[in-house]
Symmetry: C2
Subunit: 260 residues, 2 copies
Amino acid sequence: MCQLLGMNCNTPTDILFSFEGFHRRGGLTDHHADGWGIAFFEGRGVRLFIDDKPSSDSPVAGLVRRYPIKSKNVIAHIRKATQGEIRLENCHPFVRELWGQYWIFAHNGDLKDFQPAQGQHYQPVGSTDSERAFCHILEQLRLRWNTPPDSAQLFDEMTRLAAQIRPHGTFNFMLSNGEWLIAHCATHLHTIVRQAPFNTAHLVDDDVSIDFSTVTTPRDRVAVIATQPLTDNENWSALAPGELVLFRDGAALYTSHPAS
Amino acid sequence: MCQLLGMNCNTPTDILFSFEGFHRRGGLTDHHADGWGIAFFEGRGVRLFIDDKPSSDSPVAGLVRRYPIKSKNVIAHIRKATQGEIRLENCHPFVRELWGQYWIFAHNGDLKDFQPAQGQHYQPVGSTDSERAFCHILEQLRLRWNTPPDSAQLFDEMTRLAAQIRPHGTFNFMLSNGEWLIAHCATHLHTIVRQAPFNTAHLVDDDVSIDFSTVTTPRDRVAVIATQPLTDNENWSALAPGELVLFRDGAALYTSHPAS
């Protein structure tokens, strides 16, 4: 299975600490060695780093580990290929433009028999079920609205689309347009919101700690979402299967009722 | 003015030597210090590195200088902002998907009063004339064809579109879908095709030489296109104003008659 990591904040924040543990799961402490990727929003722009090499020995991951890119929305992915060859075009996150915004998407899981009709606006470049699902979601949103709806309308439509795709398999995903980050749990997704008073956190995957009180202001709020908890001394919450959450400014703004 | 660099090859080739000279023009040997970017095709996938810092002191440029990414099509750009703030979303190259292929685009120049109608399929994310032109080109291609035309048809249409946009200002650009690279000269664009017998080349911007015969096979062919020649001991050809060239497998496949 792949691993997902997302971050949504109310102030641009670097993800170095979380990425330090996360990237080690790409071939070092876990078996996710078929490529990786990370996308950072900076304003309306996106920095996308993808690699078809394991993240634990990728030169690009080395850069990301050392380079404190500050972002309000980040999505990272470590790939264990289930569908689609190990090729650059099959690495997540994927990026497309919708309504003059970049949208980024990453998926953990496996969708079977998911072959939506070819879109008028969006087509996959690679051969993964994940990119097909992303293009299908964007196509449906674009067909429904010519201009961006408000976030409540969008969340309702995303709830509907997630429910439509969910029966095809395992569909943990994260999606962001730089303003909000949507996370959908099919099997495993955990979240934590860090805010004042900040404490020291310690990684599961490496003997590294950080005292967040030394690198934050009292107003900062950061939501981190990951397949498995990244720290072993904080209280992560598990999302329920079928639950969809829209994070904005480091907090859950909308939560769907989990599918029964 | 900005600087453009493109490479089109018949075998995946690294661009380290050309980029070594080129990146120094971003704030060190020349005045192009408002960001930079480079996009590499690898198969159908694209690696895009962009930065709103000068390329001469960008950590991302440091990675690219040390990392021999092999690609058949590369476009790089160093930005001197004329329209659009110095922000990540205004850095070239820009990427979009068309017909299930990624397309990359970079522009050197300045288009005045170029405000095409909002597209159904493509909208700019940033505020540059360049991204507007790119989205307009893709929109026109997408409206005309639902599936990719052959390269001769595409070249004719690109000749028409370049002529339509050219009167708005200075429109040197490069465009690639990973199979071919199209270069359009408005003012300054120079090209060289390197093939056997390979010789030693020496950079203009730095005292660095390379003996290409030691890093190539006799069948390799590499076209390099740049705003200004990058080496001082080779015969670069200047494209004529209004000339459009489609490079494939390291050679010019189609050339338009320059605009009179």
